[in-house]
């Protein structure tokens, strides 16, 4: 009896051991077969997020061994998140990124060529500017824009009319713009406190960087010279800072430095400001929060921006919204990310994606842009002027990626570090707060930027 019990116990032990071994090895074996990639994209908009979910689900259906962990990150937060992830050595496999991030990372040899993605789309079917931005000296493509758009001045036509201004005529110069904004800044009840300001700007450093490079470019200036040396003390930059100070003192919402990007939309929707700078995604925001103004056709955009005193009349720099998809070459399963991108740009999938926010995500594929199914989207009729303004700017006005006042800046390997450092935002804050004169602030920023570039090992002057 005792012997039988002993055998039974030994059998039980063996079974237990075998079970435990199986339990330990099985997940490992399964995990070895499963290919996982992490994807970050910058479209937290529910419609786009739903489409991304759908595209990913469809991809997994044809790739059952793949798991995609994806996350929507607000594009104002993306740089910070990316830099923290990179510093921690844990970037995602595939992410969207600003052009300067793509360029900086490619210069450091961290990105996987996406030539196959370009080939799968067909290079002739991609707009020339996209081919140009993402083609490097070595002939490779290290990124590909997910969609395009252009930054515009968004106005309330009703406030323009109230102020006796023509809402259909864009200001051609900074002087004209200032005059408009002064007329739009009003104290309607005479209590000594302004009830509406001419312009609302977003205060995060990311947006100050945006406004600065666009205005410097529109003033015929640049932020870096041919060898990458900062040019913050050049007259065009100083004039921009002087303009900013004047704008701040007369016509900007006084707490603009602490306002988020979405705050500026809320301020325009509620009539706190008469104009802002922004993107096509805002149409959904206005439809929700200012339906009366939308119904009356009072939310509109200008199809040009004013030029500074040192710029050429009619020539301006505005931001080309062309965030890229990039793949980290050392990431696990980077090849799966490339496969996913090829799938993402397939006509049916890409059409769904750009149609999720049609006023913001303009396609990079010529065939989609000309597709009657795409052009029949009702949003284009409702927001025709906004879409046409962007198309006109992209086609005729040579908009540039963030922080690139000139196309040569694409080759600078340190723009991401300059953008993240807060040097440019500090310079502007110094000036608008009256802490330093424009020249003093520019000299300080110049010194800091030169020092940073030197410390990073990119000094070439």
């Amino acid at each position: 009896m005792q012997q039988a019990f002993g055998e039974s116990r030994r059998y039980g032990y063996r079974t237990l051991l075998a079970g435990a071994t199986l339990a330990l090895l099985l997940p490992t074996a399964l995990a070895a077969q499963e290919r996982v990639i992490q994807v970050w994209h910058t479209e937290p908009n529910p419609a786009t997020k739903a489409v991304m979910d759908e595209i990913i689900a469809d991809f997994i259906e044809t790739h059952p061994d793949v798991r995609i962990e994806h996350e929507a990150v607000g594009w104002g937060d993306l740089d910070l998140k990316m830099q923290a992830a990179l510093a921690a050595g844990a970037p995602p496999t595939l992410t969207q990124a600003q052009t300067y991030v793509e360029r900086s990372l490619a210069a450091k040899g961290m990105l996987m060529p996406l030539n196959d993605v370009f080939d799968s789309i067909g290079r002739d079917d991609i707009f020339d500017v996209i081919n140009f931005i993402h083609t490097y000296d070595d002939g490779n493509n290290y990124g590909i824009s997910h969609a395009v758009g252009a930054d515009t001045i968004i106005i309330r036509k009703d406030f323009y009319r109230e102020a006796g201004l023509d809402p259909d005529t864009a200001p051609a110069t900074w002087d004209e713009w200032l005059e408009q904004l002064k007329a739009l800044t009003i104290d309607s009840d005479g209590d000594g406190r302004m009830d509406r300001y001419g312009l609302g700007l977003a205060g995060p450093s990311f947006f100050i960087n945006e406004d600065l490079y666009m205005w410097v470019g529109s003033n015929g200036g640049r932020l870096f010279d041919e060898v990458g040396r900062p040019t913050f003390t050049e007259p065009q930059v100083i004039e921009t800072l002087e303009f900013w100070k004047e704008l701040n003192d007369c016509c900007l919402s006084p707490d603009w430095l602490s306002q988020s990007y979405l705050d500026t939309f809320a301020n325009l929707a509620t009539g706190q400001v008469a104009s802002i700078l922004g993107w096509g995604r805002g149409t959904g925001y206005f439809e929700q929060y200012a339906p009366d103004a939308v119904a009356a056709g009072d939310i509109a955009v200008f199809d040009s921006k004013p030029a500074g005193p040192s710029g050429e009349p009619g020539k301006f720099v505005t931001q080309f919204d062309n965030e890229s998809w990039i793949v980290f070459k050392d990431a696990d399963n980077a090849d799966v990310a490339v496969e996913f991108l090829e799938f993402f740009y397939e006509p049916a999938n890409y059409l769904k994606y750009v149609e999720s926010v049609p006023t913001h995500l303009l396609p990079i594929r010529k065939s989609i842009a000309a597709d009657p199914a795409y052009l029949a989207n009702p949003a284009f009729e409702k927001w025709e002027d906004w879409v046409q303004a962007q198309l006109k700017i992209i086609a005729e006005d040579d908009p540039r990626p963030l922080l690139m006042t000139q196309w040569e800046d694409l080759k600078l390997p340190f723009t991401a570090e300059i953008a993240g450092s807060g040097i440019l935002a500090d310079m502007v804050t110094d000036v608008v707060q009256g802490i330093r004169t424009p020249m003093e602030a520019a000299e300080r920023a110049q010194g800091r930027a030169e020092e940073l570039i030197t410390q990073l090992g990119y000094r070439k002057w």
């Binding site: 910070l80 830099q83 923290a84 990179l86 510093a87 050595g89 970037p91 450091k108 961290m110 406190r193 205060g203 995060p204 450093s205 990311f206 100050i208 919402s253 006084p254 707490d255 603009w256 430095l257 602490s258 306002q259 988020s260 705050d263 809320a266 301020n267 509620t270 706190q272 991401a416 570090e417 993240g420 450092s421 807060g422 935002a425 500090d426 502007v428 804050t429 110094d430 608008v432 707060q433 300080r444 800091r448 940073l452 410390q455 990073l456 090992g457």
Partner: protein, 314 residues
């Protein structure tokens, strides 16, 4: 004392120390102590000592955040901060203002609230729970709510103040952002002082107050001569801890102001360390800053003990 022998049985050693035999070799029992403590020591070494040593090592190197290249630069990083008036010295000043400001207010409101909550009144338990509420709210929620409340365009507080004829100015503007931050931080963290102080107040012998009353001492004198001496030792620890916490505070400052133009006016040393490490991507500089912050806090703690410990000894 029972000890193990070669054959597995146990014996007592002559010297009273237990012995263990392993493959014919005698192992003193106190070695087992080391063996048993070893996992904990490894954890401490791995989780605390290694990061600290690595941080010191990084601080004498120039290293890009995500490139696997580092160059030994000696004390250059530290020398850089000596003349970095806009970054380091300004951050040190702002951090000191923030830490002293918040700790002083936390102390005043925390002790005051603890004294009130130590009284007997109907609903005391509920009010005590409410007093702890700010400490339980996640920082991000506090920040979103406060930015909303203080917003100049649609915030309820500026609106209410204007209704009664007061002009609050820009509560999130450059000139008052630090003050707003200090007040919000005080609101969030003062329950820490309340908990510590209240716990000590509840252990004070009521007979002391009874005797003082008999002697004719009023509430102020009773507080000064009985309560304060009794809670002094608790406050000594609480103030030290709160100062260390507030001087190294990152989350609430970052979420409330940093990343915007007004972040320039709240860029304390921990924020500046983040900027150097994760935005300028200079890990060596960031590590040097963290070492400097560590040394500043060690110096502060030593000075604090030297100045106040004796006064707190019974």
């Amino acid at each position: 004392m029972a000890v193990a022998t070669q054959d597995g049985s146990t014996l007592a050693a002559d010297n009273g120390e237990a012995e263990v035999w392993l493959r014919g070799r005698r192992i003193p029992e106190h070695w087992w102590g080391y063996v048993l403590v070893a996992p904990a020591m490894l954890l401490v070494l791995g989780l605390i000592l290694y990061p600290v040593i690595y941080s010191f090592w990084l601080s004498v190197h120039s290293k890009h955040a995500y490139l696997p290249i580092e160059t030994f630069v000696g004390l250059d990083n530290f020398r850089y901060f000596l003349t970095d008036f806009d970054g380091f010295w300004r951050g040190l000043w702002l951090g000191t203002v923030y830490a002293f400001g918040t700790v002083a207010l936390q102390l005043v409101f925390g002790v005051g609230a603890a004294l009130l909550l130590n009284q007997t009144f109907i609903g005391r338990g509920f009010v005590r729970g409410c007093a702890l509420f700010p400490y339980m709210v996640p920082t991000i929620v506090v920040v979103i709510l406060m930015r909303w409340i203080l917003n100049d365009n649609y915030g309820v507080l500026p609106y209410a103040l204007r209704l009664v004829g007061l002009e609050p100015g820009l509560m999130l503007g450059p000139e008052s952002i630090m003050l707003s931050l200090i007040l919000i931080s005080t609101w969030t963290y003062f329950p820490f002082i309340v908990i510590g102080t209240l716990a000590r107040l509840q252990t004070i012998d009521p007979e002391l107050y009874g005797a003082a009353k008999v002697d004719g001492a009023g509430p102020l004198r009773r507080f000064w001569h009985i309560t304060l001496p009794q809670i002094r030792s608790v406050l000594f620890v609480l103030v030290l801890l709160r100062f260390l916490f507030m001087f190294t505070k990152f989350d609430i400052i970052w979420l409330f102001a940093s990343g915007t133009g007004v972040g320039y006016f709240t860029r304390t040393l921990p924020i500046y360390t983040y900027v150097k490490t994760f935005q300028e991507l200079q890990v060596g500089m960031g590590a040097a800053l963290s070492v400097v912050i560590f040394l500043i806090l060690v110096a502060f703690a030593l000075l604090y003990f030297r100045l106040f410990k004796r006064a707190n000894e019974p």
